[in-house]
Amino acid sequence: MKKQTVTVIATSVITVLVVLAAIIIFLPTLGPRYLHPLMMGDQPAPTSLDMSNSRLSDNGLYRVSWASDPSSPPLNQIHAWTIHIETAEGQPVAGAEVSVSGGMPQHGHGLPTNPQVTQDLGNGDYLVEGMKFQMPGWWEVRFDITAAGQNDTIIFNLTLK
């Protein structure tokens, strides 16, 4: 083998060793975040989540959609939503009993408020007052809907920035 080749190989090997040693020594300062993205604090929300705001309920009884006022749900501010409920065939559902719940699945806590449907606006629209989100991240909002003796549930996902 040529002398130069040996030199180059030895240089590379020693450099690699030096860099590895430096990383190990300075790991406490750097933090493990450079090693794996999963170690960067919060787990990201599952990428397969359906984030749409118009969906069929779990058993397919109702198509439900929501709209927030202001249009993107604000952080730390109590606000109202309007939900629209129709049958799978597109008929507005009148006189539904709706209960509201929700929370952050990754943190195991619920909503900071106790929102309620306060008004049947007609044409399948219902006013939900008392909505509030107090942390950025992935939230679930769940509506339990009973109309004409038929009960179904829908869970919406949203990400608060």
């Binding site: 240089t11 406490p28 933090g31 170690m39 900071p112 007052e129 920035k161």
Partner: protein, 421 residues
């Protein structure tokens, strides 16, 4: 020998190049991180939210009157306690004590007034739902101002009649001291309470109306106490303008590293979010009970108190219709998450706000960060904290970032002292 030199030289050169490359690489933030930084930035602070429960909230004359009341020690049992006794303007409207000292000693730390107008809940446990209702709590507390509402009504009559009437209209005639005793109110003191209960309902309402108006004037003043920009805010402003030089002069490398932890692995931003670094909600962080005090159940009692409070948003003394009281109407009033939960305080000026936690349990930021890094079991309820696994160096970076959150008040100097007559 020559070859060894070559190897050594090459190694040093390459290592130096790597080091230089790492060090000179500009700090980069992802889009998501920039959104988080912008949300904490003081430039994102919205205008003061209206207070529908206080028709005088934005009345300048009411604020001037409230400022006089805020600094007036005559409104107390011993003539020595004013709001400003615990909320000292030169201490960022704080007092630096673990437990607030009025005519006696309370069981909680004084909270700052800076930015308080943005919170739907006041006090550590949120037992009040407006600034004006909050201001009235200490006035009749036996360990704070220790006075009574008829005492205060007479003081207004004798010392502030013109100022009061200019804002709130005619002051009723209080001269009949059999109808309006010098000391009567729904307080702990048995004599003052008996005198209060002996009054007619109509006369009690006259005294209470004056008392409520005092609170509304003090609230109008307190709404003007606003936070100013810190070095962190300069950094974000520079970042948003992509001004690398200004970014570097605003925050050091360690502070930036601390900021990255704050919005990332340390999870601080979960509760300390928004431009005031608080979500104004309630969280159990398992802070140990203060020496000599029983474990404090925080929000669990606070929510019952605000629902029953005679001055809450839905009360007869509030100027809000039902629609203005959403926070109270949709409040969560039961559940285990309320036990031992407290409101996260703002972190603006946190370096000057020692001691920390609801009863001043920790005297340094380092102790606070140690608590979050190795959370103990909660003395009451269940702590929401998870161990963070941060190194000593990372905790130091976080602390240096917190120290970059200090800034001057965004409040004119004449509002920071007793008004000149």
């Amino acid at each position: 020998m020559k070859r060894v030199l070559w190897i050594l030289g090459g190694t040093i050169l390459i290592a130096a190049a790597i080091a230089l490359w790492t060090a000179s690489r500009p700090v980069s933030w992802s889009e998501q991180e920039i959104a988080a930084l912008r949300s904490l930035w003081i430039g994102s602070l919205p205008p003061l939210p209206p207070d529908p429960s206080n028709a005088y909230a934005d009345n300048p004359q009411a604020a001037a009157f409230g400022q006089a009341l805020f600094f007036d020690t005559r409104f107390s049992a011993n003539g020595k306690v004013a709001c400003a006794t615990c909320h000292l303007p030169d201490k960022l409207f704080n007092d630096g004590l673990p437990l607030a000292q009025g005519v006696g000693t309370t069981t909680r730390r004084t909270m700052t007034i800076i930015g308080a107008a943005y919170s739907p809940w006041l006090f550590w446990d949120g037992r009040k739902d407006s600034l004006w209702a909050q201001a009235l709590g200490p006035m009749e507390s036996p360990v704070e101002h220790g006075g009574t509402r008829t005492q205060y009504a007479h003081l207004i009559d004798e010392q502030y009649r013109a100022q009061y009437e200019a804002v709130f209209g005619d002051l009723p005639d209080l001269s009949d001291q059999t109808r309006f005793p010098r000391a009567a109110g729904p307080v702990d003191d048995p004599e003052a309470r008996a005198a209060w209960e002996a009054m007619t309902l109509a006369d009690r309402e006259i005294a209470t109306r004056i008392y409520v108006n005092m609170g509304k004037a003090i609230a109008a003043y307190e709404r003007l106490i606003a936070p100013g920009p810190s070095r962190f805010d300069q950094y974000v402003a520079a970042l948003l303008e992509n001004d690398r030089e200004a970014m570097q002069s605003a925050l050091t490398k360690d502070e930036v590293a601390g900021l990255r932890l704050f919005i990332g692995r340390a999870d601080c931003i979960k509760c300390h979010n928004g431009p005031l670094f608080t979500n104004n909600e309630f969280h159990n962080t398992g802070v140990p009970a203060a020496d000599g005090l029983p474990a404090d159940d925080g929000r669990a009692s606070g929510v019952d108190q605000v629902i029953q409070d005679e001055f809450n948003c839905l009360s007869q003394w509030s100027d809000a219709g039902e629609t203005g009281c959403a926070d109270l109407r949709f409040v969560v009033s039961t559940g285990e998450q309320l036990a031992g939960a407290f409101k996260p305080p703002t972190l603006r000026n946190v370096a000057e706000s020692a001691p920390y936690m609801h009863a001043g349990q920790f005297s340094t930021l380092a102790e606070v960060l140690q608590h979050y890094n190795h959370p103990p079991f909660a003395p009451l309820g269940r702590s929401e904290l998870e161990p963070l696994g941060l190194t000593a160096a990372e905790l130091a970076q976080l602390e240096s970032f917190l120290r970059a959150l200090s800034g001057p008040l965004n409040t004119p100097a004449e509002l920071l002292a007793s008004p000149q007559p």
